[in-house]
C-alpha cells in the first residue's frame, strides 16, 4: 500500500522489470544507496519472490547493464560492441520520443490494435444509427380485406413507411370494399412515433357544404340524396399524411393502389352481402350498371376490375390531389351532386383542408391511451376506461363479474358522447370534453353505478339522440 502511494525506487524497479516498461529503467538516474534503506524490508521480500534479479541487481548500475543484456538476447552480435564503458550516466532520456515506436514493437502492436478496435466500434455504431437495417424488423398489417393487407405488406417490404403502407391499404379498401369507404368519403388517421413519443391525429372527415342549411333538410331526403353529400376529405388527408410521414414517392404508392383496380380482385363475402342488400333499394342506374350487372348482385369470389378507379388514381398519382380538388373531377362531382338536389360547389372542394390535431389521452393502469378528440367519440372511450379503472380489473377477477360494470360504464360514455360536436364551431364542447376526461368526474359516475342493478342512461347524465350509423 505504501508503495502504491509513494513509489520507492525498489517498487519502481520491481515494476520496471516488466518487459513492457524496462526501457524507462535504462534511463533511470543513479539511485543513492541511502534511498534504498527505508524500503529494505520490502526489498528483501521482493528479492525472495523474484527469481530473476540477483543480489547485484540492487545496485542500479549493475541492474541497468544486466537488464539491457537480458532484453537483447537476439542481438548477440551487437553485444560485443556494448562494453561496460559504453554505459554512461545521463540526466536526460537518451531514447527520444520520435523513435520510440521503432524500439518497442509491442507498443506499436497494442496501439494499432486499440486504434483498429476503436475504429471498428465507431463504424458499427454509425452503421446501427445511420445505415440501412441489416435485419428486417418485425411488423404487422391488418385490414378488412386480405388483398389490401397484402398490398400494405408489400409497401413495407419495399421499404415504405408504416404510413405509406396505411395509405395504400386505405385506398385499396375503397376499391375492394366500396360500400365502406372510398375517395368520395373521409376518415381519421392516428399516427404514433415510438422513438419521438409523438402522436398526431389527421382528421380528414367530410365537412358540410358552404351553403347548406337545416331548412334544406326538412324534406324527403330520399328524393334529394345530393343533400347528404359532405365535402370528401379522403385524398386530402392521405396526401397530408404522406407529406408528414411518407418515405416512398406519392406516385409510387398511388400507382400500386391503381394496380389493384386495374389488375382486379375477388368480390368478398362482405361486398357480396352489401350488394345483395343494395339490390333491394332504389339505386341509380349508373350504380346498377356498375355494381349490379344484369340486375344481379355478384357472388363472393367473382373476379372484378375497376378500370374507372384505376384511371382516376393514375391521374392523382401523376398530377397530385389537385386533380380531385380543383380539376376536371371537381366539376364532375359537383355536377353529379347538384343533379341529385345537392348544394355542393366547386369552391367547397377547392377550400377543403385536413385538420391536424393532438390526440385526447389518459393514463389507464400504467398505459397511455390515445384516441381522436372531438368531434370524434374517442373521448367517450377514454371516459369509459376512466370509470372502469377504479374497479381495478385484473386477471384475478372472472370476466363475468366485469360485464355489468362494462355495460354501465359504456352506457355513461355513450350518453356523454351524445353531447359532443365540432369544437371549432362550438366552444362549449371543450367543457364537455374536459368533464369526460376528468378522473374525479369518472369517480363520481362510478359511485352512481349500483353493483346489483342496472339503470337507464338518464339516471347518470342527460342524453341526446345518437344518429343511427354515425361514422
Amino acid at each position: 500500500l505504501v508503495a502504491d502511494k509513494e513509489p520507492s525506487p525498489e517498487t519502481t524497479l520491481g515494476s520496471a522489470y516488466s518487459p513492457v516498461d524496462y526501457m524507462s529503467i535504462t534511463s533511470f538516474p543513479k539511485l543513492p544507496e541511502d534511498d534504498v534503506l527505508p524500503g529494505e524490508n520490502a526489498m528483501k521480500s521482493r528479492k525472495e519472490d523474484d527469481n530473476v534479479l540477483s543480489e547485484q541487481d540492487t545496485d542500479p548500475d549493475l541492474f541497468l547493464k544486466s537488464a539491457r543484456l537480458q532484453r537483447l538476447p537476439s542481438s548477440a552480435s551487437d553485444l560485443a560492441t556494448h562494453e561496460d564503458g559504453t554505459f554512461r550516466e545521463t540526466t536526460t532520456d537518451p531514447f527520444t520520443q520520435e523513435c520510440a515506436c521503432q524500439r518497442d514493437g509491442l507498443t506499436v502492436i497494442i496501439t494499432a490494435c486499440l486504434t483498429f478496435a476503436t475504429g471498428v466500434t465507431i463504424a458499427l455504431i454509425v452503421q446501427i444509427y445511420c445505415g440501412d437495417p441489416q435485419v428486417f424488423n418485425q411488423g404487422a398489417v391488418v385490414t378488412d380485406v386480405a388483398q389490401c393487407t397484402s398490398l400494405g405488406f408489400g409497401v413495407l417490404e419495399k421499404q415504405g413507411s408504416s404510413v405509406d403502407a396505411a395509405i395504400a391499404a386505405a385506398l385499396c379498401l375503397g376499391i375492394v370494399h366500396p360500400h365502406t369507404s372510398g375517395i368520395g368519403g373521409g376518415g381519421v388517421m392516428l399516427v404514433h412515433e415510438i422513438r419521438k413519443n409523438d402522436t398526431r391525429v389527421i382528421d380528414f372527415r367530410e365537412t358540410a357544404p358552404s351553403v347548406i342549411t337545416e331548412d334544406m333538410l326538412q324534406t324527403t331526403l330520399d328524393a334529394k340524396p345530393g343533400l347528404l353529400v359532405g365535402v370528401p376529405g379522403m385524398l386530402s388527408g392521405l396526401n397530408q399524411a404522406h407529406q408528414l410521414y411518407g418515405r416512398l414517392p406519392w406516385k409510387d404508392v398511388i400507382t400500386m393502389v391503381a394496380d389493384v383496380a386495374r389488375n382486379g380482385f375477388n368480390v368478398t363475402h362482405e361486398l357480396a352481402q352489401a350488394l345483395a342488400d343494395a339490390k333491394n333499394q332504389n339505386m341509380s342506374k349508373a350504380f346498377e350498371d356498375l355494381f349490379l350487372p344484369n340486375g344481379q348482385a355478384p357472388l363472393s369470389g367473382v373476379f372484378s376490375r375497376r378500370m374507372d378507379l384505376a384511371i382516376i388514381l393514375d391521374a392523382v398519382a401523376v398530377k397530385g390531389i389537385s386533380e380531385f380538388y380543383s380539376g376536371n373531377l371537381t366539376q364532375e362531382i359537383v355536377a353529379a351532386v347538384q343533379e341529385k338536389g345537392g348544394v355542393l360547389t366547386e369552391e367547397d372542394l377547392n377550400k377543403y383542408s385536413t385538420v391536424l390535431r393532438k390526440p385526447a389521452e389518459i393514463n389507464y393502469q400504467g398505459h397511455h391511451v390515445m384516441a381522436p378528440p372531438a368531434p370524434h367519440a374517442g373521448i367517450a372511450l377514454l371516459t369509459a376506461l376512466n370509470i372502469l379503472e377504479g374497479y381495478n380489473i385484473t386477471n384475478q377477477l372472472s370476466r363475468q363479474s366485469t360485464f355489468h360494470w362494462i355495460a354501465e360504464s359504456v352506457k355513461i360514455a355513450l350518453a356523454m358522447a351524445s353531447e359532443i360536436g365540432d369544437p371549432m364551431f362550438d366552444t362549449s364542447v371543450s367543457e364537455i370534453v374536459a368533464k369526460m376526461l376528468s378522473k374525479p368526474h369518472a369517480s363520481q359516475f362510478r359511485q352512481m353505478i349500483d353493483d346489483s342493478q342496472t339503470f337507464s342512461a338518464d339516471h347518470y347524465t342527460q342524453t341526446f339522440t345518437l344518429e343511427k350509423g354515425a361514422g
Binding site: 405488406f153 408504416s162 404510413v163 373521409g186 337507464s456
Partner: protein
Amino acid sequence: AAQVVVMGPDDVIVSVMSSLNKPFGSGILTPSGILLNSQILDFSWPNKTEGTTPNPHNRLQPGKRPLSFLMPTVVRPAVGLCGTYVATGSSNGEKALSGITQVLLNVLSSRKNMSDSLAYGRLHPQLEPNTLLVDSEFLDEDIKFLQSKGHKVERKELLSLVESTRRNNDVIIGVKDPRSADALALNI
C-alpha cells in the same frame, strides 16, 4: 367503416378509419366512378326522426364536421418505451365504442393475449331503447348473470369488428377479428 392498422419496422404505429357513412354512401356515382358519401346524416337537426332529442352541439353548419364514432386508438406504456403497445380500430358506428373498450380491457387489465381478446363475446348497451345487446359469441351463462342484474338482453349475430396489432418490446403481432371472413392480418 373501413379499418387499417399498421405497425411497421420504422417504429411508427398507424390506425386509420374511413367511411362513407351508409353502405355505398349516398349511392351517387359520378361518371368517372366515384361513390359519394352521405356524411350529412351524422349531423343532428330538429324533426330528423320523430320523438328524438337532437344534440345541440352537433347541429348542421357550413364547414363543420359532424360527431363521428371513427375511433382509431393507440396505447403505449405510460412511462418509458418498454412495454405493451396496441393499435386498434372498430367498425359499426357507436358499437365501435363498446368493442374497443372490451378489447382493451381484455389486453391491458385481464392480460389476455390479443387473439383471445378479440374472440371473446361482446356486449353493447343501447341507449334507445334501453337494451343490452350481446353478440353470438356471448355465453348463455353470462347472459343469465346480466339478466339477474336487470339488463334486458338481446342477442345479435354481430355487433362490431375489431382489428388490432400489439407490440411487446420487439415482438409485433397483428390479429384480425375472427368474426370477419374477409379480413387478414399479416406479420413479418
